[in-house]
Structure formats: C-alpha cells, structure tokens
C-alpha cells in the first residue's frame, strides 16, 4: 500500500444483485469512521447493471490527501471478489505489488495461488462465504448474501480498517434493523478468514 499519493484503491467484482455497490459504500464509511482516512470516494462502474451479469464497484480511501481523480480504477491495491466465477486472469494480474486479493472461495489461499498461478507479490485472503450462506440459509431474492460477510474478511486482511468500524459502518448505511443483522454476519465471517502473506 505504498502508493505515492497515499491513496488506496479498491475494486469489487461480483454479479449484479450481489451488492457490490453497497459494499463499496460501506467500505468508505468504515474507512472514514476508523479515523485512519481523511478522504474517501465510492463509485459504481459507470454502466448499465443487470442482475447476474458481472459488475464492479470501486472505492478510493486516502490517509491525508484530498482525492481529485475521477478515473476508473485499472490497477487496484485491493481486489475483492464476491463470486469466484467472475474471476479473470486480468483481475489478478492488475492487482498492484504488495496488494491484497480477497475472495469468496472454497479454496485455501495456497490452493488459489497454485490454481490461478498467482506470481505477483500479493496477500491472499479467502473465506468460503457460499458455504456460510447455505448453512445459515442466507438468501435475498434467491441470491446468497455475500457482500456483508466478505467485509468482515476485509478487516482481517487490512489493518487500517478494524472490525468495530466496519460494524458501525454497516449499521450506518443499512439502518439499525438490517444493519445489526448484517454486521453480525461480517463478524462471524471474519473468523473464517484464511490468510496467506507473500
């Protein structure tokens, strides 16, 4: 995360309906609430979004400088993959050096590294969120709720956003009723995190 501009760029990959955009909004709330970031920006991929189609959302979080760039993020510091079926070689290749891949997968980080032949210097964090959802019967309109659990995983992989800030952010963005439920999912899923440092 040694970007010259001290801006951390995050890209979230998933399918329409999985809540990529909501996840990006919660991440910037959490980053700001943590007190570690002075400026934050979240935005969807600028295009028509359809349920089931691969979609993206983005976030920029900055420790000191105001964020002025409005360009789409081509090479993120952190890639969050909500659905392993949308992954492409480019998504992995484009993660910056010393960046992080966070993925909803049944594979361990070591298995992922071999399976996708990951050679760049990145930290890998995985958790089997699909299984987590099936076990608890967590579906919204037949789509497993993966976006808020994976935010718990993010807090395990990125020191500067703590779980407590993430919980507060989920409640702030989603409201008390939905937020308390969803933040409990993030808290539980955080425990499933498997980490591989480079």
């Amino acid at each position: 995360m040694s970007d010259v501009e001290e801006i951390t760029e995050i890209a979230i990959f998933g399918r329409g309906g999985q809540g990529c955009v909501l996840a990006s909004q919660i991440i910037v709330e959490a980053a700001y609430l943590s007190g570690n970031y002075k400026d934050v920006v979240a935005f969807p991929s600028f295009g028509a979004e359809r349920r089931g189609a691969p979609v993206q959302a983005f976030a920029r979080i900055s420790k000191n400088k105001k964020i002025w760039t409005r360009a789409q993020i081509q090479r993120p510091d952190i890639a969050i993959v909500l659905d392993e079926t949308v992954i492409t070689p480019d998504i992995i290749k484009n993660i910056k050096e010393n960046g992080i891949l966070i993925i909803n997968s049944e594979k361990t980080p070591e298995e992922l590294k071999n399976y996708y032949n990951i050679t760049n210097n990145i930290k890998i964090a995985s958790a089997n969120i699909n299984k987590f959802c099936i076990e608890r019967d967590l579906y919204l309109e037949d789509i497993p709720i993966v976006n808020t659990p994976i935010l718990g995983v993010l807090t395990k992989a990125l020191d500067s956003i703590d779980l407590e800030s993430m919980i507060k952010a989920i409640i702030k963005v989603m409201g008390i009723k939905k937020g308390e439920f969803n933040s409990s999912l993030a808290e539980e899923a955080a425990k499933l995190t498997m980490l591989l440092n480079f």
């Binding site: 990006s24 909004q25 910037v28 700001y32 934050v40 935005f43 969807p44 600028f46 409005r70 360009a71």
Partner: protein, 418 residues
C-alpha cells in the same frame, strides 16, 4: 476536515437534493432521466417523509417539467428542477422562456453526452449547448461544491438586481453517482443565509419599464416603436443583468465563505498551484479535477504550470481572465465538449476573451473524454508536452485534436482527411 460526525457520505445527486431541502424549495417538477433521476427520487422521499414542505408536480416530459416550474415561479414560490442530456434539450424552448420571464429558477444539470450513438455517460455537451438561453451557469468539481453552489445559486438568482435563472452543472456518474464526504449545514444557518424569496414585482429593479411585463405578453399591435414593443430593450436589460450578475456571484460566494467556512477560489474560478505559473491548464468540472494530478506530475518535472478551474461560465468572466492571464505564456484547454465544425467550446470562448489582451498567450485546445471515455492522467500530460512544443514554434494546428481516441482498437478505418 473536521470531526467525523459532521460529515455524511453521499452521492452528488443526493447532495443536490439535500441543498433543495436546505433551500426550502416549494415546488419541484422533473421527469426522470439517467443520471439525474436520484435527485428527484430523494426529494420525493423528503416530501413524503415530512422533511420538506414542497409540492412535487408529476409531469409527462421535461418540457412540461420546466413549464410547470416557470408557471410556479411566476406565482412567487421557490422552484427547482434537474435534468440531463436529451431531457435538457427537450426543455430548450422553455429555457429561453424562463430567462425571458426573468424567473429565478435553479436547475441542476447532471451532465451527460447527447445521442446518437446512444450514451448515458458523462460529457459537457448538454450544458454547453444551452449556454445562449440567458441563464447563469456554474460548474462543480465535487459533491460538497454541488451542495454549496446550489444554496448560493438561489441567493444569486433571486437577488433583485439579477432575477435570472441559474444552472448548476455537475458530471453525470462521476459526481452524480459517486459517494463523497459532504457536510450538511443546520437549517437555521441556511435560513439566515438564504431568506425566503421576495418576488420580483418591481420591474424597475430589473431596468424594465412599466408596460413591458416579462410574465404577461404585450399586445401584438403595430406601434411606432415596432411590432413587439420593448422586446429589443427587454432583451438588452436581460443581457445587462447577466453581465452585472458577476458581482453578485462573487459577493454571494464571499458571504457564503464567511458564514460556512468553505470557499471555491474567488467564486468565479479556482486555482491550483498557479501562484508562480507561466503556463496553465484551463478546464471545468471532472476535467479540472483530473487535471490536478497532471499539474502535480508536471511540477515534479520542474514545469511551472497551474490549473484554472472555471466555476462561472455564464456570465463569462472576461475581465477576470484577462487579468489572470496577463503574463501567461501558454494555456492548454481541455474540453469535454465540442463545437462541431470549429473546436472545443471552452477553448474558443477563452480565445475570444483574450483577443483584446495586451498579452496573448498561445492557446492549445484538446477534446477529451466525450461520451464518458475515461480521462487518463498520462494522456493529458502528453497533451501538455505537445502543446509546449507547438507553443515554442508558435504553430497552430487547423484540425481539432482529440486525446484518448481508440481508432485502431475499435477498427475505425476512416482515413484522415487532408
């Protein structure tokens, strides 16, 4: 930036809607179009929720939306609408009518490209297209600026020396759908800054003589002074009011800055690292904000360059720009719009403003990012370097240059016309 609690994270559209709530708008009429729709959705929510006491007029088109606003404003209430692209162009006729009626309507343009081909993404073509309708026009670079400028816009438009409708423009998606930190102000403080609308009953204030009412049509009777008595003089007074509104824009900006502690350059343009600059980038909105990185990168290389981000586009601040650029050697203008058959609109407006200057800098214009094509910092830097070289040789190119085209990649085989 102050404490965490004072800020909310919201999209540009929601910042605009919150400004309307703060301004206590009384009538809103709009028709949904991407990327503007969430503004009006949010306002509807405020009204249904009892947070805003306003009437939402449901209409069947943008033309009707603005017609409803014109009618409501003529009765003396504070009105608001927002639109984009084709919606704005469908309003064109009524835009002229609103200005002619001297109604202090405030409208947000969530800027979007105009078809064909179909595109919902940002550029500034829609906003620049309506520049000659007689409205004041301002551009924003971030969501806080949208909120703040909307509040200022009502105070400017409703001033008895102005009474001119006002556009506040921001980039579609790039601001409209992007979440940022926004500080919302307490209602009491806003009320102090923006008192209720005093309707423009005294036509003398607007340099208009009795008998020529901007709201009701004059009798179409042939008179000695012409078939439309006073039309010409009336249009003269509109032009004068718009010209003079620049002082009001500045004054309101300064009052706002004093009250709320946030300022945007001098209210007319914003500067970035321009103190000792010999050359400049000149741009508006998203292009200006992206250019800040370009300035940083070029400053690292020792190039004395600064950014002028134009906030007030109508009235065009000719006097201010002549003074600002009195020692400039080179100005690079990035236009996210185009005057077809000529060049970027901002570029030729600037050239025209500086024609009478003692110092005429070399001005190089580029077209960038039409239809939401991503603007890449390195592309802009390359453009600046090319402009520097052309400037040294004082070489003007006759063809408009575009940055970030993908002709080969997209298999556009059209031959360059010599």
């Amino acid at each position: 930036m102050t404490s965490v609690e004072e800020y909310q994270i919201m999209t540009g559209n929601h910042a605009a809607a919150n400004a309307c709530k703060g301004a206590r708008v009384q009538v809103v009429a709009a028709y949904p179009i991407t990327p503007q729709s969430p503004v009006v959705e949010k306002i509807s929510f405020f009204i249904e929720n009892g947070e805003l006491n306003a009437r939402m007029v449901r209409v069947e088109s943008e033309q009707s939306a603005l017609t409803a606003c014109v009618a409501a404003s003529a009765t003396g209430v504070r009105v608001y609408t927002a639109t984009s692209s084709h919606g704005l162009l469908l309003m064109y006729e009524i835009l002229c009518w609103a200005a002619g009626n001297r109604l202090p309507i405030v409208m947000n343009i969530a800027m979007r490209s105009v078809g064909a081909p179909w595109s919902v993404w940002t550029d500034h073509q829609d906003a620049f297209t309506v520049r000659d309708t007689g409205w004041i026009q301002m551009f924003c670079e971030d969501n806080q600026e949208i909120y703040d400028t909307n509040l200022q816009a009502y105070r400017i438009a409703e001033d008895p020396s102005v009474y001119v409708p006002t556009f506040v423009n921001y980039d579609g998606y790039i601001l409209s759908h992007t979440s940022m930190l926004v500080k919302l102000e307490p209602q009491k403080k806003i009320d102090e800054f923006l008192p209720p609308l005093k309707h423009h009953l005294n036509l003398g204030d607007m340099n208009i003589v009795k008998g020529v009412c901007p709201v009701t049509t004059p009798h179409i009777v042939k008179r000695e002074e012409g078939t439309a008595p006073g039309y010409y003089e009336f249009r003269y007074s509109l032009q004068r009011s718009i010209e003079h509104s620049i002082n009001k824009v500045k004054e309101v900006h300064d009052l706002f800055a004093e009250k709320f502690g946030r300022s945007y350059g001098n209210g007319i343009y914003k500067t970035y690292r321009a103190e000792d600059a010999e050359m400049y980038i000149f741009a508006v909105g998203s292009v200006a904000s992206e250019s800040r990185l370009v300035i940083d990168k070029l400053r690292e290389k020792g190039i004395k360059i600064g950014l002028i981000s134009l906030k007030l586009f109508r009235p065009f601040p000719t006097k201010y720009l002549r003074e600002l650029f009195k020692d400039a050697k080179l100005i690079v203008v990035f236009d996210r719009d185009i005057g077809y058959g000529y060049e970027g609109i901002l570029c030729y407006e600037l050239k025209s403003a500086l024609y009478q200057s003692k110092n005429r800098p070399f001005i190089k214009g580029y077209i960038v990012g039409l239809g939401g094509r991503d603007i890449i910092t390195s592309d802009l830097i390359e453009g600046v370097y090319r402009a520097i070289n052309l400037g040294k040789k004082n070489e003007y190119s006759e063809q408009t240059e575009f940055i970030g085209l993908k002709l080969d990649e997209l298999d556009f085989l059209q031959k360059e016309v010599k």
